[in-house]
């Protein structure tokens, strides 16, 4: 009897010992560079961020991880060419570690629709890296309406002085308070594997310039492509009405606005890089990057369509009748 108990105890002790040994093995950490550049059609690069990765004990901010002393060159290639040509070399801001820009004078045309661009980065302490993107066409067939009245809104390009006042009623459900509705030819967007986004810029902290934006608060949503589709390969096998995707506009609800007051709304087309990145946010672990030998994103958006910018005044319906 005692022998059995001893055996069982010995087995249990051996098991416990084995369990304690199973702690896993850590993955080797290699330092890399991360590049972020959100370029806009018709503009030059006002801010390109270059930083390095940090290990688990470091302070993870640009002040600590920003990388100075890099040689960053912007290249351009027209749709008809096979080789890139150099546009210019970026310069680091004097007091902003790891933030680089390309002066307007070096790039007077700005990013051009249909052209390909490459950013190459060289640094003594790191492997060279580069990223490529194509400037997308503007949003096709854009039309923005005020859902309350059903009337088309006037863009800044059509009338620089126009300001539309949009009202919301406190306490209404979110679905009822659609303030703007932007429609565009989504099929064309889809064919380009691009997506559309919007930005809301509170007016008092916004300085609008064709080549330079300073934005404090923005909202960007990822739009689904509004075309019918199927989730299953053969619809007939499952019955009708399976897996249809439905047409969708780009609605803006009141909660998307930062606060009451003057705001500017900009609708823009983004490229396939941004789309891939947004997709990866819904996935797991690894974010999409188009930076070769590094991390980050080089993406170009286009809000140069005539009817893409709107100045609006957002206020509650209660304030309309004080």
């Amino acid at each position: 009897m005692k022998r059995y108990y001893i055996n069982i105890f010995a087995l249990a002790a051996a098991a416990v010992l084995m369990m304690s040994c199973e702690t896993g093995t850590s993955t080797k950490y290699d330092e890399m560079l991360a590049l972020y550049c959100y370029a806009k059609a018709d503009s030059t690069i006002d801010s390109l961020y270059l930083s390095r990765t940090g290990d688990v004990n470091e302070s993870i901010c640009l002040d600590n991880l920003g990388v100075s002393g890099a040689t960053i060159i912007l290249y351009e290639r027209s749709p008809s060419d096979s080789d890139y040509t150099v546009i210019g070399t970026l310069t680091e801001y004097p007091e902003r570690k790891g933030v680089y820009y390309l002066p307007d004078t070096d790039f007077p045309t700005g990013f051009r629709t249909g052209y390909s661009y490459r950013i190459g980065v060289g640094h003594d302490d790191y492997d060279a890296l580069y990223a490529e993107a194509v400037c997308p066409p503007e949003l096709p067939g854009i039309s923005v309406t005020d859902p309350r009245t059903g009337l088309a809104m006037t863009s800044i390009a059509e009338d620089p002085a126009v300001v539309d006042t949009l009202y919301y009623r406190r306490g209404e459900s979110l679905d009822d308070i659609k303030l703007m509705d932007c429609r565009f030819d989504s099929l064309l967007i889809l064919a380009e594997e691009r997506m559309a986004s919007f930005r809301i810029v509170p007016d008092e902290i916004c300085r609008i310039d064709t080549s330079f934006w300073l934005e404090d608060t923005t909202e960007t949503i990822w739009e689904d492509y509004p075309v019918e589709t199927r989730i299953f390969k053969d619809k007939e096998r499952y019955g009708k009405d399976i897996g249809d995707y439905y047409l969708r506009s780009m609605p803006l609800y009141w909660y998307m606005f930062y606060h009451e007051g003057l705001q500017t709304v900009i609708f823009s087309a983004t490229d396939r890089v941004f789309r891939s990145f947004m997709e990866s946010l819904y996935g797991d672990e690894n974010r999409y990057t188009n930076v070769v030998n590094g991390l980050g994103l080089f993406t170009i958006s286009n809000s140069s369509a005539e009817r893409s910018r709107y100045r609006i005044y957002v206020r509650s319906l209660e304030n309309k009748y004080p």
Binding site: M1, I8, L11, A12, A15, V16, M18, M19, S20, E22, T23, G24, T27, K28, Y29, A34, Y36, Y49, R52, T53, D55, V56, E58, S59, I60, C61, L62, N64, S173, L174, D175, L190, E215, T217, T218, D224, Y225, E228, T229, R230, I231, F232, K233, D234, R237, Y238, G239, D241, I242, D244, Y245, Y246, E279, L281, Y282, G283, D284, E285, N286, R287
Partner: protein
């Protein structure tokens, strides 16, 4: 016509010798008992009752025989039977449940009385009785699934989940049957409690791998749960209350049959409501019922149902979220002849999730299964039994998602699966048993290679003696219905079921298990020792593509294959268990070694091979009960296991968004390469029973979970320190020390 054909078919095998057939029932309730040994004393002629308590002893010579009927937990019954030549006797037996005192007496004789049954291949099978669940340490209330989690070969990934990971299989590889009806998501409170009311259950059998041909549609295991038939003899009932929920069971005779009604409801919602609108309101409820009528000795009609749901509402978000199961089954049992036993079943089972937020976001997933099944057992002789049947299932799938007036997904379809199965059990010399089987499935929605599948099954058993045997089982298994799985999602909130289409191949599992069991008498007690090894090769496991969002858009040919990435896995392990079923001190102690290595079959993911998130190589478990006397009993459950694997963060970088704002992004290490600290939990319980003169009794159960208050890690959570922009790692813990009390009154 069909009946005639069956009779003609089986009559080819008829033999002309004496036969004894019948049912074995519990004397106090008239409910059937399965796995009961029925044998002729002093001979090797014997059999065991099937799941419906039916047995056939055939090939008996004319003359006087002493029949022995014995089962764990019951007083052994002996009866003389006189048979004439070519006699066919129908004999039903009623076994008296043994009391505590009788169990002690039984210890001294059990080794002689309860030999292993050669026809009964039990390797990889575990049985649980409700009374074992009731008196063990419980998480607030007795729970079948939590008791199963304490068994060898079964892994739990969280204190917060009743999910079962059996022998390296995922939690959707288990076929969970309630009275033969598949149940798709048998849990409450996001998996914290399982659905079934313990007092309304009769038996539960877990077949951990290599299950027989009568079951299908899952890669791994079968959990066959049977509800109580209903007491045909008298009215009785039970009410109980725990800190979280109250439940009641009533059963009694009705006409020539019995009924059972059970209900449970949680009562935490009034407390949550009192706390204010900032807290959600939540409750769950269950209802179980069964009514049966005996239409003569050979016919029984049974209706059983299980319904239950969870309801979560949150006023601040205008949220209503309900999910639950509805199952209904009508079964008809008919004994065509003493040798031919048939079951017919028409059932409906559905699982639904319905969520509404702000009257704006709607989410609905529903799977329903309408099934017609027939199974027949033909007892040709004591050493040859045939089993065959068919099943037609029609599945209904709904998956809808909408945001405002925008529909993301709107799936509404149905499809059929047709199954045909057959197996036989043949024994030679009362030593060696050979059980081949095959299951054919026709699944029209799959691609041409898998429309018609054949799943061979084979079990072999060799008995060295009445108390020692070795078993080898294996088979090929298919699964075409699966849940959405993500490797980083160890705590599945609710399961979303998807049928696969012809763009991917169905899940395939080749499965082998080798087991040895022996019963030895040591120090006056009987101990069963079991060693079982298994190997599984699982193919076509569908994982959610980690780089694909749930609203991806590739328009023209949107199909399952584009959303899920294929993977395959090898699982192997060995289990050791020592068990004492009788006596004051009873229970089991086990050690399991098991590995699950998974490979993503996608060049984009570098064909990554890693430990599955439920891979727990070493697991030590002990579940012991001590019955001090008729009134006092104590329980202890200990689990010590390797920590689960996880993907560590090896570094961070700054993500700059388009406004220039900085966000910290983690750099993941190799997938599932690190492990959480070892898991340890010790639960104890004490039970005191008051017995009253009118036959009723009151049970007080006091439990303490995680007695040592060990902080087991559910996951790590990361938070940015605003002062220095560093990332701090904190533990999201599993359950702390948790006392609970439960009162149960039986009348």
């Amino acid at each position: 016509m069909r009946k005639i054909l069956i009779i003609i078919f089986f009559s080819v095998f008829s033999v002309y010798a004496s036969t004894v057939s019948g049912f074995v029932r519990d004397a106090s309730t008239s409910e059937v008992i399965y796995d009961v040994n029925v044998y002729i004393d002093g001979t090797s002629i014997g059999t065991a009752t099937n799941i419906n308590g039916y047995f056939v002893l055939s090939g008996l010579k004319a003359g006087k025989h002493k029949l022995v009927v014995s089962s764990v937990g019951y007083v052994t019954h002996r009866e003389d039977v006189v048979l004439l030549s070519d006699d066919s006797k129908k004999m039903d037996f009623r076994l008296e449940p043994e009391t505590m005192e009788l169990q002690e007496v039984q210890v001294s004789i059990e080794a002689d009385e309860l030999p292993d049954e050669v026809m009964n291949i039990r390797a990889g099978q575990l049985k649980l009785k409700p009374r074992d669940i009731r008196t063990s340490a419980t998480f607030i209330q007795p729970d079948l699934f939590r008791s199963i989690q304490t068994l060898p070969g079964v892994v739990s990934v969280s204190d917060y989940s009743t999910g079962l990971y059996v022998r390296g299989g995922n939690n959707d590889h288990n076929l969970i049957l309630y009275d033969e009806i598949p149940v798709y998501n048998p849990s409450h409170l996001f998996g914290v409690f399982s659905s079934f009311i313990t007092d309304a259950l009769r038996d539960s059998k877990l077949i951990k791998s290599a299950y027989p041909a009568e079951y299908g549609g899952r890669l791994g295991s079968v959990l066959d749960i049977r509800s109580r038939d209903g007491n045909k003899e008298k009215f009785e009932g039970n009410i109980s209350a725990s800190l979280f929920a109250g439940e009641g069971v009533v059963t009694g005779p009705v006409y020539d049959g019995g009924f059972l009604i059970a209900a449970r409801r949680s009562y935490i919602d009034p407390i949550l409501d009192m706390l204010g609108d900032e807290y959600p309101s939540y409750y769950f409820w269950d209802g179980q019922g069964q009514v049966y009528q005996d239409l003569g000795r050979d016919d029984r009609l049974i209706f059983s149902t299980y319904v239950g749901s969870d309801d979560l509402s949150f006023d601040d978000f205008k949220m209503d979220w309900a999910w639950g199961n509805n199952t209904y089954a009508l079964r008809y049992r008919h004994i065509f002849s003493p040798r031919l036993y048939s079951n017919f079943k028409l059932s409906y089972s559905s699982f639904f999730i319905d969520m509404n937020m702000f009257d704006w976001f709607r989410y609905k997933n529903e799977i329903a299964d309408l099934s017609l099944k027939n199974s027949n057992e033909y007892f040709y002789s004591n050493d040859l039994v045939f089993k065959s049947g068919f099943e037609v299932q029609r599945f209904f799938i709904k998956y809808k998602q909408s945001l405002g007036d925008t529909k993301f997904m709107d799936i509404d379809g149905s499809y059929y699966i047709y199954s045909l199965f057959a197996d036989m059990t043949k024994t030679w010399n009362s030593k060696f048993t050979f059980k081949p089987g095959i299951r054919f499935e026709y699944d029209p929605i799959l691609n041409d290679d898998f429309k018609l599948t054949a799943s061979p099954r084979l079990s072999l058993k060799y008995m060295f003696s009445d108390f020692s045997s070795v078993t080898l089982s294996g088979g090929r298994y298919f699964q075409s219905l699966f849940t959405v799985q993500q490797e980083n999602q160890t705590l599945q909130i609710v399961d979303n079921w998807f049928p696969i289409d012809d763009s991917v191949d169905p899940g395939i599992c080749d499965n082998f298990a080798l087991g040895y069991e022996t019963t030895r008498r040591i120090g006056g007690g009987n101990y069963k020792f079991t060693v079982e090894a298994y190997y599984k090769y699982m193919q076509n496991l569908q994982n959610w593509k980690e780089t694909t969002s749930s609203t991806d858009d590739v328009i023209e040919d949107m199909e399952i294959g584009k959303y899920f990435v294929n993977s395959y896995a090898h699982a192997y392990g060995i289990e050791f268990m020592a068990e004492r079923q009788f006596g004051k001190l009873n229970g089991n102690i086990s050690y399991t070694f098991g590995k699950v290595r998974k490979t993503i079959d996608d060049p984009l993911e570098d064909n990554d091979t890693f430990d599955a998130h439920w891979d727990i190589p070493h697991s030590f478990k002990s579940s012991v009960n001590y019955n001090l006397n008729r009134k006092w009993s104590f329980g202890s459950v200990i689990t010590y296991s390797t920590g689960r694997p996880y993907t560590e963060n090896i570094g961070y970088y700054v993500h700059i968004d388009e406004t220039g704002e900085e966000h910290i992004v983690a750099i993941p290490g190799d997938r599932n390469r690190m492990r959480y600290p070892d898991y340890f939990r010790w639960d104890i319980s004490a039970n005191y029973t008051w017995y009253y003169k009118n036959g009723s009794k009151l049970l007080l159960n006091l439990s303490v979970l995680n007695l040592t208050n060990r902080e087991n890690v559910q996951s790590f959570i990361y938070d940015e320190n605003d002062e220095d922009s560093t990332v701090e790692k904190d533990v999201f813990p599993m359950l702390p020390i948790l006392p609970s009390v439960r009162l149960s009154y039986s009348f």
